[in-house]
Symmetry: C2
Subunit: 340 residues, 2 copies
DNA sequence: TTGTAAGCGTTATCAT
DNA sequence: ATGATAACGCTTACAA
């Protein structure tokens, strides 16, 4: 039933080695090559990749470990990665940690057993900031979206602080002064964006407060409820990512607060639906294709050159200005107004 | 450098076979088992999965081939599948065809080379309806979301016609009479939903027209433009899936037609943002977890029992009624009104 | 229960 | 350029 390379060899009257060479693109007499190819065709031979890997010690497989496969940011990046891998004749093993560090560790171990050529990892949130980094794996790793403190991996991330700053600039320009920033407490990304937010808020002398919100949406919602029921309701809310933006939207809806009528909403990640809620949400769009392609390139580079110094690629996002930053009632038109 | 099973065996003063048995959960003297486990720990041994597969002829790997990884429906299903696979100690190879039948064929071939235990396949759209089915693969396949005409695979799909009918019932109940239905021309799913739409429209004696729209969004947008610029603008539009819904939204925005003010919009797939556009979109929510879990269960069943008859599981969705079906101007309140 | 040894299907080495 | 052969690291008869 199962046809092997020896069967093909017999069919073509050549040695198994020659068949292997033909399939591997090694130099072979054209006539023989043709004969082999036909024999492959006739026999319906399919190389056994497990055997090939065992013998060649190359898996041509990469692991893709993402923190949340349902987050459009990660799926967009995954698409690019899978695409490039396929072009290169590489397989992608999909791993979804659901933000669970234990699962992440298990997957990294699994990847070792798979003898993957490398791994692209979007790390799960680290609960305690003082978590020790994972033991140095014996395969190349490229981090995306978030870094792991204390570990020196290649990584490709967004210029988080600067982009958060741009968003604040934009909000300030639109006349917003009381701004609340919501950032993930358990990721470096969240903390960096917060820093940028703080810095820019100070620069504009805004009445801004930022909050690190822990994982669960419930806590975030509760915090938001408290914030919005204060005497002076903020003009605008800025959220650290697309998922959080959705959570804020849900909380606002529950409080019957209209966007952008009662409050402006802005944040990170440009999901395809964001132009349709309210007057459209203003966001920093991440260069998802670039991120995927860069990560893949870095990984392939690293596979070829395991001992080079770790590189850190920082990409810029793009501000997509939309209607949700309409100025609060009674504000001078943008461009003519106050901002420093 | 690379520590193998023989190294562990030596370290534990047992034979390689015993190590293998310990790791495979086979009966072994508890004392020895402990010794082996410690030796594994000390040596940092990681089984080579390629070798294991080659020898055992079992890959413990499934292929997941989806038509569009960016479609939230597929990512939701993927999440469940990956999760169950991980629980069972199986790997998932991710393949994204981007609706390209050629890529799909290439991936199926690749899966054969991987000697996967089975494949879960969300088929790409078949351009010409008369496309011949793929050659019978030598591994189990479970289809999700769409079937392949002429091929007898296990499959788990939505009760498309009935659900489309329910949606029409709902629209009719809300007082809509001029309804336009937009359905994908190149998938059985689209055609089934259309049938249900037609049947229900006739039953309610609605002024309904349905259109099969080909792949590209541009064509769809053009068609929509024509439809909406007729003398009598429809009350409601119904679209075949979440992606299409987004396309319609985009087209309507370009024409400055408000949802749900000027026109109601409803469709399939309940994406997390849909409650926030307009007054919320009314949709048929697919049981994505069920679909994933069922597909996985069927696949595992089929792996155990390759020669059983093909099964077809048809799941019901759930109508999520939201504000976009507010009645058109001057309509009796729902429940008291006209519907047959 | 444990050890010995063969072999899974391929590629790499070494002759020719 | 091609062929014979060993070896990749593991599991599984089979023997003890």
């Amino acid at each position: 039933m199962a046809v092997g390379i020896r069967d093909v060899a017999r069919e073509a009257n050549v040695s198994p080695a020659t068949v292997s060479r033909v399939l591997g693109g090694k130099p072979v007499n054209p006539a023989m090559r043709e004969r082999v190819l036909q024999a492959v065709e006739r026999t319906g031979y399919r190389p056994n990749l497990a055997a090939r890997r065992l013998r060649s010690q190359r898996s041509n497989t990469i692991g893709l470990i993402v923190a949340d496969i349902r987050n459009p940011f990660f799926t967009a990046v995954s698409r690019t990665i899978e695409d490039i891998a396929a072009q290169r004749g590489m397989r992608v093993i999909l791993c979804n940690t659901d933000e669970d560090a234990a699962k992440e560790a298990a997957y990294l171990d699994l990847m070792a057993q798979e003898r993957v050529s490398g791994v692209i990892l979007a790390p799960a949130r680290r609960k305690g900031a003082g978590r020790r980094p994972p033991p140095r794996p014996d395969f190349p790793v490229v981090l995306i979206d978030r870094t792991i403190p204390g570990a020196t991996f290649d990584c490709v991330i967004l210029e988080n602080a600067a982009m958060a700053g741009e968003l604040v600039d934009h909000l300030a320009q639109a006349g917003h002064r009381r701004i609340v920033g919501l950032f993930g407490a358990d990721s470096g990304t969240g903390r960096e964006r917060r820093e940028g937010f703080e810095e820019a808020s100070a620069r504009h002398a805004l009445d801004a407060t930022s909050h690190l919100i822990p994982h669960g949406e419930t806590e975030g919602a509760q915090m938001l409820r408290d914030l919005l029921c204060t005497a002076e309701r903020p003009d605008a809310i800025m959220a650290s990512n697309g998922v959080m933006l959705l959570g804020v939207l849900r909380a606002l809806r529950a409080l019957h607060i209209d966007v952008p009528g009662d409050i402006a909403l802005a944040g990170f990640d440009n999901n395809d639906w964001m132009e349709f809620v309210g007057q459209g949400l203003t966001v920093i769009e991440q260069p998802v294709e670039d991120i995927g392609a860069t990560a893949m390139t870095m990984l392939l580079d690293r596979i070829d050159n395991p001992d080079a110094a770790a590189r850190r690629v920082v990409l810029r996002g793009q501000l997509v200005a939309r209607g949700s930053t309409v100025p609060p009632a009674g504000t001078p038109a943008p461009g003519t107004g106050a901002p420093a």
